[in-house]
Amino acid sequence: MSYQFDFLWLGEYWPQIAKGIAITGQLTLVGGVVGVSLGIACAWARALGPGFLKPVVGAYVELIRNTPFLIQLFFIFFGLPSLGVQLGELSAANLAMIINLGAYSCEIIRAGIQATPRGQFEAGASLAMTPFETFRHVVLVPSLQRIWPALSSQVVIVMLGSAVVSQIAVEDLTFAANFIQSRTFRAFEAYIVSTLIYLALAILLRQAMLALGGLVFPRRAAR
């Protein structure tokens, strides 16, 4: 009763896999760009923003960071329609990933902002910049540079976490694996192949994030 591996189905089903990779990539791209932008806004609000915003953003961050992504996704997709907010599965998945990454990246970026030497804020003020201009031109970029490796890891984690969106019928890579599994009964092969694709995507995404960091952030002279 030895098991015979069979990867012949790959020939027939690779379009599904390619489509799944495209959807996973699209979700990661939108989630990454919008999520990190939301994270920057929240980090500003939490570290430097007006007093009334701080507890609101704090509650958002704590709530998201202490509940599973799966439940956030289900709440948005199944729960919100009873409030009259009906989202398609792809929009729900995008929204869930943005909200999730927004909260995590807020904490990461806030750490970067808080590590900014006080003198930077004072220097900005002495050049007659408003607090917001100081943040925008003086504080933000070095802060992002400081925490870029941690932020890159978080984006990779969110990409891997996106596997669960298959549960609300988004046709991502995991969905493709499930589809192939149910058609061919080659569960082991289907999941091994998609797991390896995820691994390759994770390595690629990490390299891309680091390359982007090298491109965006100017090399600073030795301190």
Binding site: N66, S82, S194, I203
Partner: protein, 219 residues
């Protein structure tokens, strides 16, 4: 048609929370044991063992936990091993936690000054003795906050086991929703229960970090 009160919903969810807690506990303890062995390999003087552990860690950190669960659940069944959902969930979560804990602890061990290794070696200690009496007690202090923080990830990770059919808090949420047609209330309550489990851990991790960092704050 039966009417469900909020209390009916909450009671059923709380009953299922026991399984979330049990699975988290088993995963965390099992993951710690396997993680410690992995740490031993990861900082071994032999390059082959180090590479082996590094490969393991990268494999588990670079792939979705959901895929690991699927492979444990559907994959192993094909080899004639009958895998119930709770077993697949436990095995996958233990192996997954081990990878993360080993990597967290490696950072803590490497933060210990090299002189400590050299001093203990010069006292004629073997590697096991060095770890047991010199390195681990010091590394433990640094390791507590991130380890407590990771326990939150374990609790949240157990939510994925609902997908392979293990009935814990998330699965109970889906079942109760299907019975009551009140997804907003049910998933809201599920989220609040997870929050009640995770938030104290997150908070104590932060507080511990601040407390234990005091000694290092001399700049």
């Amino acid at each position: 048609m039966t009417e469900f009160t909020t209390w009916d919903i909450l009671r059923n969810l709380l009953l299922a929370t026991r399984w979330t807690l049990l699975l988290s506990l088993v995963s965390f303890i099992g993951g710690s044991v396997v993680g410690l062995c992995l740490l031993w390999l990861r900082i071994s003087p032999r390059a082959a063992l180090r590479r082996l552990a590094k490969g393991y860690i990268e494999l588990f950190q670079g792939t979705p936990l959901l895929m690991q669960l699927f492979i444990a659940f559907f994959g192993l069944g094909l080899f004639g091993i009958d895998v119930p959902a709770w077993l697949a969930a436990g095995v996958a979560l233990v192996l997954w936690s081990a990878a993360f804990l080993a990597e967290i602890w490696r950072g803590c061990v490497e933060a210990i000054a090299k002189g400590q290794w050299e001093a203990s070696a010069s006292l004629g200690m073997g590697r096991l003795q060095q770890m047991r009496y010199v390195i681990l007690p010091q590394a433990l202090k640094i390791a507590i906050p991130p380890t407590v923080g990771f326990s939150v990830q374990v609790i949240k990770g157990t939510a994925l086991t609902s997908i392979i059919g293990f009935v814990e808090l998330s699965k109970a949420g889906t079942i109760v929703t299907n019975a009551t047609f009140q997804p907003f209330t049910v998933y809201g309550l599920v989220a609040l229960i997870y929050f009640a489990l995770c938030w104290p851990l997150s908070k104590s991790s932060q507080i511990l970090e601040r407390k234990l960092n005091v000694a290092h704050r001399n700049h």
